[in-house]
């Protein structure tokens, strides 16, 4: 009987975790859509301006060739940025193709940060990415890790105010993570945080990765010339699981 109750409880927890994972993905898609609409709007207006210039040549002070060149450059740049976004979205969507796989954590984090830029910018928070070198690929659940990172980002965002800084960094894991990766979140201007405030569902997702979340110690924070007075943070230790 005890086993049955536990199994039922675990099943509910699993469902809740997957639902939250879908919600994270949904929010990322919403941000993607917003970003794309803005690029398309600029492309559309720039293209419209090209047409206007051709029809109403010389109505303004600037010479037509200069205006055409500037506008064409604007269109090219926005098309490039839109294509990059689509490429990253495609990569993110395909992470769910196989639950477990070998992947580069740096690629996954960089991909996520691209989608988070708009929401941090709209909150006037500076988002910085500091990628460690020489990190080997790990074997784990990339889609679930991305969801966990999104939830940790959302948790951090709640604690940060306008003008503050969030630094996400990666490093080779310690012995604890058995060759895995440490992903740190440093919150500038936030004196303290309580990891117990993370939801049970996020904690379950972390456990499902075989990962561990711990607060950053003072020595982990003093990594720049300026030091990190007024910073606090946490790190996620993600192991590389044995290949099944």
């Amino acid at each position: 009987m005890t086993t049955g109750i536990t199994a039922e409880g675990t099943g509910e927890q699993e469902r809740a975790m997957r639902q939250q994972q879908m919600a994270s993905f949904g929010r990322l898609i919403a941000d993607f859509s917003h970003e794309m609409r803005n690029h398309l709007a600029v492309i559309q207006e720039a293209n419209g301006l090209l047409e206007d210039i051709l029809v109403m040549e010389g109505t303004e002070g600037n010479s037509v060739p200069v205006l055409l060149k500037e506008t064409a450059a604007q269109i090219s740049q926005r098309v490039r940025r839109s294509a990059d976004l689509c490429q990253h979205l495609s990569g993110m969507a395909h992470r769910s193709d196989t639950p477990c796989s070998s992947f580069q954590v740096n690629d996954l984090v960089a991909e996520l940060v691209i989608f988070l830029e708009r929401s941090t910018r709209s909150r006037q928070i500076s988002l910085q990415l500091d990628q460690g070198q020489g990190i080997d690929p790990i074997y784990n659940e990339p889609a679930l890790l991305q969801h966990v990172l999104y939830q940790l980002y959302a948790f951090s965002l709640e604690l940060l105010s306008n003008g503050q800084t969030l630094i996400i960094s990666t490093a080779i894991g310690t012995v604890q993570t058995k060759g895995g990766v440490a992903i740190s979140f440093r919150l500038g201007g936030v004196p303290k945080l309580d990891l117990a405030e993370l939801s049970a569902t996020v904690s379950a997702a972390i456990a499902s990765l075989g990962a561990k979340l711990e607060g950053l110690q003072q020595e982990d924070l003093e990594v720049t010339e300026q030091g990190f007075a007024g910073f606090c943070g946490f790190k996620l230790l993600v192991p590389s699981l044995p290949v099944a």
Partner: protein
């Protein structure tokens, strides 16, 4: 398209303020409206928009919903407090229907999702001007 663009002819003499932190978008749209003899000015933040509001007293404001320094809905409220007769068209990349409803409740004239065709926007501007003129006549 040309029929729609002819609507703009009715808008001469009005002042229009674009508030959007997508600088390239705001500047290009502003230029295209100016080419159509609309007295348009662009601001690239909520704060800058509110300063220009009191300086140029626009008839119509085109306002982005999500900006880096403040929410478009907060800017909308301040515009309506400053002068309730100014018609505000929300223009945003944010696709949420709820945001549109909320904007309407706070007094926005309409809500359009980017990218938007300029002729459609010109029609919307003409409708907003018409509503404003009718309101003025009703008050006068």
């Amino acid at each position: 398209m040309k029929d729609k663009e002819q609507e703009m002819g009715k808008n001469e003499g009005m002042k229009l303020l674009i508030i959007d932190d997508e600088v390239e978008f705001a500047a290009t749209l502003c230029r295209r409206l100016q080419l159509r003899n609309i007295d348009a000015v662009d601001a690239h933040s909520g704060q800058e928009g509110l300063v220009l509001l009191t300086e140029i007293h626009p008839n119509i404001v085109i306002l982005d919903l999500k900006m880096h320094d403040m929410s478009g809905l907060d800017v909308l409220e301040k515009i309506k407090t400053y002068d309730a007769t100014i018609e505000v068209i929300m223009l945003t990349g944010h696709g949420s229907v709820r945001a549109g409803i909320e904007a309407g409740e706070k007094g926005a004239f309409d809500y359009m999702i980017k990218p938007v065709d300029l002729p459609d926007l010109l029609v919307k501007i003409a409708e907003a001007v018409k509503k404003q003129i009718e309101g003025d006549e009703g008050r006068g």
